[in-house]
Amino acid sequence: MKDLQPVVVVIDDDPSIREALQGLLETAALQVELYVSPREYLLRKPVDAPCCIILDVRLPGSSGLDFQRELARAGDRTPVIFLTGHADIAMTVQAMKAGAVEFLTKPYRDQALLEAVLLAIDNDRARRESDEAVAGVRQRLETLTPRERQVMALAAAGQSNKQIAGTIGVGDVTVRVHHRQVMRKMRARSLAELIRIAEMLKNNGIDV
């Protein structure tokens, strides 16, 4: 996955800006896709690669800020860099609160834009890796029996095998067997790692 060529999406209705950005991004060996409007972008087939969007705030049809909200609603978490002709503070705050990576005003500095793009792509790569990790852990969680899952939850909450045996009313030996199974299935090499995995699941809304 780390070998995937990152993609930068440029959405701007001005052909000069689109072409100039394409040229600039190619100097950083980035793959570029150009779109005139958000609608055009939404019609495209999603690419499986780290990605970021450079977006003009005042776009025909819908404003860039509306588009950002629309993306969030659709579950698209691609990082967005705003590029605008004239930004006011309210607009900037709104965009940054909604999770924009950067808010640049035209005329922008090329270096600032490139840095923002590289940062956004790193963020996206990290997010994709973490998404992948969560997906893997979640898959493994599904392989646990209800009893093993119970043991995992209590162990991650800091209970000793003895305490767990008391809580669920089985023998110590049985708990130890379950615990070993949990560690093997979840690919946790230590209790600390098991706690971290449980935490990761919890952070992604999954109760063990």
Binding site: E19, A20, G23, L24, P60
Partner: protein
């Protein structure tokens, strides 16, 4: 001898008688001629035109009552004097040229300036006729002069006040234009920033590909080409803005209203987007050219578009739409229609809105539409407004096509 004497006497007597009768006849003829001349001179005295006759050398021979009244000299005072010296005549061309014309065509017409006895000047419409003797040799020139000083002054005054009015209108139009441009500053800045940003990026991209370790001439060249194109675009925008800002004399040239529209839309593009107004242009495939002042017609379209934008500023719940149509209304006129989906127009006030200082907008100057009308009328066109259906207003104007405007 006696006989000879008698014959001689007789002959002498006959000769005398003949001489006498010739003398009498000549006298009678002279009297008749003089009477005829006097009669003609009296007739000439009846006219209010000033008439005088001078010889080819310029010496005055006849001077009518009209001339006495106009110039202040009596006939006795001027007969024998050289007309051009007496009247300090100012000719529109050299005297030689005028005399040559008179000799060729037997007549000449033109405007002269004469100085009167009291020293004041008079402008006359002068008509010269050449008189020739029996042999056809030029003998005298008859000059008929009409005082047109008053008419000339009135004409000059009319021209001056017309010029002053035009200037006032142009100054006002320019002021309003500058005000409108002031309102558009942010948008225009954006229009210029777009291509300049692109120039900057393209130049940096070009420099990147020129570095030793990354050298790629094709890519550098393509970036430089883009930069040049974008710089041209920025220059075009600045030129348009400058054309609207400058104070220039009205210059009517052959132009196409669809070009005017696209020039104005290029300047208002960002403003329209910022105010979330969509523009729909419906232009006839072939639009006959009109004869007009580019800047004024740009301002006309600019004012109408800004008027539409402002009329829709408070509109919510329906799209803000500006529709601009242009087509040939008939063989002689181009028709332009600007529809908005704004608050609309009180039909009773449809005529008033073109009056200076009439406004329905809290921050309106009331000059925008008044200037539209003055521009349209200066181009011999017509402008009117009506309520739109189901809402909004419709502004329409016609301009004569070039073919009509020139005739």
């Amino acid at each position: 001898v006696t006989t000879e004497d008698n014959e001689d006497r007789l002959l002498r007597s006959v000769a005398l008688q003949n001489a006498e009768s010739i003398r009498v006849a000549r006298q009678r003829a002279e009297q008749q001629a003089e009477a005829a001349l006097r009669e003609r001179a009296n007739l000439l005295n009846l006219t209010h035109d000033s008439i005088f006759v001078h010889g080819i050398n310029g010496a005055i021979r006849y001077w009518n009552r009209g001339a006495e009244e106009l110039y202040g000299w009596t006939a006795e005072e001027v007969v024998g004097r050289i007309a051009y010296d007496l009247l300090k005549t100012v000719f529109p061309a050299s005297l030689e040229q005028i005399e040559a014309e008179v000799m060729r065509a037997d007549r000449w017409e033109g405007e002269l300036v004469h100085t009167k006895k009291d020293g004041s000047q008079v402008v006359v419409a002068s008509r010269w006729s050449l008189q020739r003797d029996e042999q056809g040799t030029p003998a005298a020139i008859l000059e008929t002069n009409n005082d047109i000083t008053e008419r000339k002054r009135a004409e000059a005054e009319a021209r001056e006040s017309e010029r002053a009015l035009r200037k006032a209108q142009a100054d006002l139009a320019r002021t309003t234009r500058l005000t409108t441009m002031g309102e558009l500053t942010a948008s225009i800045a954006h229009e210029i920033v777009q291509p300049l940003s692109a120039v900057n990026t393209n130049v940096n991209t070009c420099l990147h590909w020129l570095e030793d370790e990354k050298f790629d001439l094709a890519k550098a060249r393509s970036a430089a080409t883009r930069a040049a194109k974008d710089a041209d675009r920025a220059i075009e925008i600045i030129k348009r803005v400058r054309a609207l800002m400058t104070k220039s004399e009205i210059q009517k040239v052959e132009l196409n209203m669809s070009d005017i529209l696209s020039e104005v839309l290029a300047l208002t593009d960002h403003e329209l987007r910022a105010r979330q107004v969509s523009v729909n242009s419906e232009l006839a495939a072939t639009l006959p050219p009109v004869l007009g002042d580019r800047v004024q017609l740009q301002q006309l379209m600019l004012n109408l578009i800004m008027n539409g934008i402002e009329a829709m500023a408070t509109v919510a719940g329906r799209p803000r739409k500006l529709t601009i149509e242009m087509r040939a209304e008939d063989t002689d006129h181009v028709l332009a229609v600007v529809r908005d989906s704004g608050l609309g127009l009180d039909p009773e006030k449809a005529d008033q809105i073109f009056t200076p200082f009439f406004t329905t907008k809290p921050e309106g100057t009331g000059m925008g539409l008044a200037i539209c009308r003055s521009i349209v009328e200066a181009h011999n066109g017509r402008i009117w407004a009506s309520p739109g259906t189901p809402h909004g207003s419709v502004f329409q104007f016609t301009l004569p096509t070039k073919a009509v405007g020139t005739s």
